[in-house]
């Protein structure tokens, strides 16, 4: 018994010693709010991590923690990575903001990257993508393709990013059909396939023949497929779930950004910045335009090219729901107005939850 115990302790000691050494130059670590298996937000971030591994091979080691709840658990997870020798840590949910800043103070030599937040420090950069650019395009497609002139929008929570998405979608649609109607349903969840499916059905039943979503599951598209209406993929290309129903998808592609930033850590040129890129930089990617007549696909491609060329979808004239002017003709909204958007444009058939 005693010798067995000794042997076990010795084995543990060996294991402990063995796992400490690592050959990589840089360790890049990722914290996800959901399971990597959500096939949505966290899944796409993990695709970015895999791209980093593929790009740098043995030079970079990666690690991740999934389903880390926002709050004290997040602080501990971030601190764990900082202590375990991570050189750069990506915290990929808005709710990690204050915890990231807090841990970053304790570890000035570690680089931190916080997604979707607004607080930065010398060693904390922020990054986000202009998803609303993609939403403008799908709004145009929706208006072209809809027979009823009504689209349904399954929304998660009334944060600025979601509100901006709704507005961009409707502005795109109105550029094609000024009378286009948009029905919004708030489901108060990022992820509940059953509830999202029910919301999609309710919207179809109320006359929407285009379904779009700012929630993460593929369920609404499956409903669209079943009911013979159409929709758009969210976060990842969901064509496998709706072969006939998906027109395109707004894909979050974090890979280029992650590769770029890890490269900068390798080169020693990393700086704290606030990155907010979109279609032009390849951080937002449109999936292939399918199930569409040629002219509509061409229109979408033309708009995509225009946005890549630097045109901002939130360019006036924009009228708020209450009738006041948000932007004069030809004047684009500034970044702050888009990032903090808390009003609807005219034509949204909904009251913004306050």
């Amino acid at each position: 018994m005693k010798s067995l115990l000794k042997a076990t302790v010795a084995a543990f000691a060996l294991v402990a010693a063995g796992s400490a050494a690592s050959a990589a130059d840089v360790k890049a670590c990722f914290i996800y709010v959901g399971p990597v298996g959500d096939f949505g937000w966290s899944y796409q971030h993990d695709q970015g991590r895999l791209a980093v591994e593929a790009e740098f091979g043995d030079k970079v080691e990666t690690a991740y923690l999934e389903s880390v709840p926002e709050g004290p658990d997040a602080e501990r997870a971030i601190e764990r990575f900082a202590r375990e020798g991570c050189n750069i840590i990506f915290t990929t949910s808005f709710g990690y903001m204050n915890q990231t800043i807090k841990v970053a103070k304790k570890f000035p030599d570690v680089k931190f990257e916080h997604a979707t937040g607004y607080k930065t420090a010398d060693n904390v950069a922020t990054y986000n993508s202009k998803f609303h650019q993609g939403r403008y395009i799908i709004g145009q497609i929706a208006a072209k393709q809809s027979k009823t002139g009504v689209a349904g929008y399954i929304a998660s929570f009334p944060i600025p990013e979601v509100v901006a998405g709704i507005n961009a979608f409707l502005l795109g649609a109105q550029s094609v059909n000024p009378d286009f109607k948009l029905k919004v349903v708030w489901v108060n969840t990022w992820f509940d396939p059953g509830k999202e499916a029910d919301a999609a059905k309710a919207l179809v039943d109320q006359g929407a023949d285009i379904i779009t979503q700012h929630t993460d599951s593929t369920a609404p598209l499956q409903v669209a497929q079943e009911r013979g209406v159409h929709g758009f993929g969210q976060a990842s290309d969901m064509i496998n779930f709706a072969k006939d129903a998906q027109y395109t998808a707004i894909i979050d592609d974090w890979a280029p950004y992650y590769v770029e930033r890890v490269q900068e850590v390798l080169d020693g040129t990393w700086k704290s910045e606030s990155t907010w890129d979109g279609l032009a930089e390849g951080h937002v990617v449109m999936a292939p335009y399918t199930n569409l007549p040629e002219d509509v696909a061409e229109m979408a491609e033309a708009t995509e090219a225009k946005i890549k060329g630097g045109w901002e979808p939130f360019t006036g004239p924009i009228t708020k729901q209450d009738g006041s002017v948000a932007a004069e003709t030809g004047v684009p909204l500034d970044d702050g107005a888009i990032l903090g958007m808390n009003w609807y444009v005219q034509g949204v058939d909904d009251q913004l939850p306050q």
Binding site: G152, D198, D350
Partner: protein, 305 residues
Amino acid sequence: MFEAVLLTVITAATPLLIAAVGELVVERSGVLNLGVEGMMIMGAVVGFAVANQTGSGALGVVAAIAAGMAMSVLFGFLVLSLVANQVATGLALTILGVGFSGLIGEAFIGVPGLKIPSLYIPGLSDIPFIGPVFFQQDAIVYLGFALVAGVAYTLFRTRIGLVLRAVGDNHASAHALGYSVIKVRFMAVLFGGACAGLAGAYMSLAYTPQWVENMTAGRGWIALALVVFSSWLPLRVVAGAYLFGAVSVLNLHAQAHEMLNIPSQLLSSLPYLATILVLVLISANRRLTLVNTPACLGKPFVPDR
């Protein structure tokens, strides 16, 4: 419009109905299994996996039922053979099921699922309104109704049902009469597991044909509430499941219709508040609940010898 709403309600209610009717039998035998959610999610993942590998929805459903039963064996062994605490064991079953299903399901993320086809009965299915609502559902919906009818009949019209209720109401006298309390309860627990597994299969093969972690999203708990709501009467489970389905679906319709301008969080909490209210109304009627509540619910039984 009404027809469409009704169709949505039927899909929303079916998994609740099936899981609840299974748990009703379990509770009628005097056992409280809080692990419905865990058994359901295991049914969902195994059903999806098998259907995906074999290409057969029917095999998937059978496998899901088997998975639910396997989980319930674990529960039954602990609470019946080893007299472990039922509440704690049920919770452990849920934790285990959620974790284990995630592990099994990792290979099936992002894989499109197989949808169990709806039945089509020439003639009947074409009748306006009645056709789509009653004669164009998938097999599990009908199976759900058959289950309720079967359970209602068996519980109150057969000897097996009599024994089951006797065991749940007074295990000591049932034992004295020579019935094996443990065996009856084990059968009931197995039945509950099978139903939860089937409900899970409905989630991953019919409701939203795909696998994602935690896809049952608390429906197992709602099923538990429905059993109390029904005051342990099978036909009331149907009413409860449809009421709950209707409240949650109408919340979405109300929003899309722009009828109301109240916080969406309040609307989202309506189904839960409604459940509490109905629980209160039903259980306040003491005469009615006392008649139907299994007197030995949650109490362990060890035969003396």
